[in-house]
Symmetry: C2
């Protein structure tokens, strides 16, 4: 199978691509990783300008020779190209798997709204740079190549699920990228956000009438939380319980996702029995 | 006239109240400033717990002896009490003026939605601590006591207007605090936000169909913007022009508001001729 890699947000270094290619070759020889050259471009904050980033995404998504599109890395920037990309997707794009998280959530949200069926929140190429990053890469490839159930977030069950970064999810509400999540388990995680910002995001999203139609919310990991001065005085779990309680949303407990190498795969939508994933 | 001061977000110090009281006594002897003791409380991140903060707001708002409610300071926290406060406001609350900005925007948004007519975005008590802070206090008191037109943001004209902090406005969209801004000039300012965050907020708010009904957007000052690594490569004005252009919202130029002592007063709604303001 062929996995195309693009960077709708920020660039990766060539050595990052080389390390992940070597891991794939050693462990998943059936998978060919094809890095679009756009992954290595730099334009101000981004991995190339908007036309270039959108063009690369569409090249891979619309090419039947690719079985999957894997996001290189997060950061910030995919919300700037998501609408032009969605407008340019052809039939070949629908038969593909898409795997990413963090800033990739804007694209995954828009694709899910557009009815795409093989989307997942999970590790990206750039995660190789994390502590124990190889585990994240192996998990992503296990899902991409064989829908390995060992890669999945363990609480996944009969209800449809999605996963997002808290800030990204809060900012796609009310935009053309917001999917209908009625009846879904919504898993949320974040990184590098002050606790007062997380609290504010939870106000925003739990006050939204459409979000209140979810089956419930699960809390992933919130890591690298900068110190508040004065201390915010509540943990992320207390913040989640507070806003879920106020809004009448079920708080379902923790989710095994986050900005770390332990980040498990959350396929979007309903679990189709054992064969869930891109090869299903 | 009596001006009641409460702190729905974070506390002020007693010496801040003393300095502002002295300025008022010297320049506006007709104004009596009454600091609710809640202004000086500390509870974790906040100026007292939620019940205390909401209670203080309601005490002042619902008391006919007060002509105005002046926000002590911003920070974070009023979104946690806004809905209980709105539910508890009685008839006396509607005849009052309300002045604040930044985090106070959650309250002002909810009050405007509820049909309150004497709301304004402008300096707060805590601004005395800024460079040249006395000018901000004098401007606030000139508006509160006499609707002095010299206090007003100079671009204000025939169209109704509102002003908000960018982040606060983005986070009240889709919540019970979001007012109907069709036909309004929307003025926006921010402080201490990375440019990528401002860009993301602009994606969020200009993608919103309800926001697209505004008459146009004006950009206030964005100050203390932390460095981006790599540099974001666009100024706040370029960011505003970009998203206004994409979304078909009129970009109307700059507004003389911001987190500084030059922050002018923006009464919410339509300018009723010369007498605009609380004394109108």
């Amino acid at each position: 199978m062929r996995i195309g890699i693009v960077a709708p947000s920020t660039p990766i270094l060539p050595e990052t691509a080389e390390r992940v290619t070597a891991i794939a070759a050693a462990n998943f020889p059936e998978a060919e990783l094809v890095f679009h050259p756009q992954c290595f471009l730099s334009h101000r904050h981004f991995a190339g300008d908007e036309e270039t980033r959108a063009g690369a995404f569409l090249e891979v998504a619309n090419d039947r020779a690719f079985d999957a599109l894997w996001f290189a890395r997060g950061g910030y920037g995919s919300c700037r190209i998501a609408e032009p990309v969605l407008a340019g997707l052809g039939p070949a794009a629908r038969s593909k798997a898409y795997l990413g998280y963090s800033d990739a959530g804007y694209m995954l949200g828009g694709l899910y709204r557009a009815g795409f069926e093989r989307l997942a929140h999970g590790p990206m190429v750039g995660d190789i740079r994390r502590e124990n990053g190889e585990a994240a890469i192996l998990r992503a490839l296990a899902w991409l190549t064989a829908s390995d159930s060992a890669a999945l977030e363990p609480s996944l069950g009969a209800e449809p699920a999605v996963a997002f970064n808290i800030t990204v999810f809060s900012q796609l509400l009310g935009t053309p990228l917001e999917p209908d999540l009625a009846g879904h388990v919504l898993m949320l995680e974040d990184v590098s956000e002050h606790m007062y910002r997380t609290d504010r995001s939870l106000f925003h999203l739990t006050s939204n009438e459409r979000v209140r139609r979810v089956a419930g919310i699960r809390l992933g990991r919130c890591t690298e939380v900068p110190d508040n001065d004065p201390d915010f005085g509540a943990s992320e779990e207390e913040v989640f319980r507070y806003w879920c309680d106020r809004s009448g949303i079920n708080y379902l407990g923790r989710a095994d996702i986050g900005h770390d190498s332990g980040n498990k795969v959350v396929p979007f939508g309903t679990l189709p029995g054992e064969g869930r994933g891109p090869a299903a």
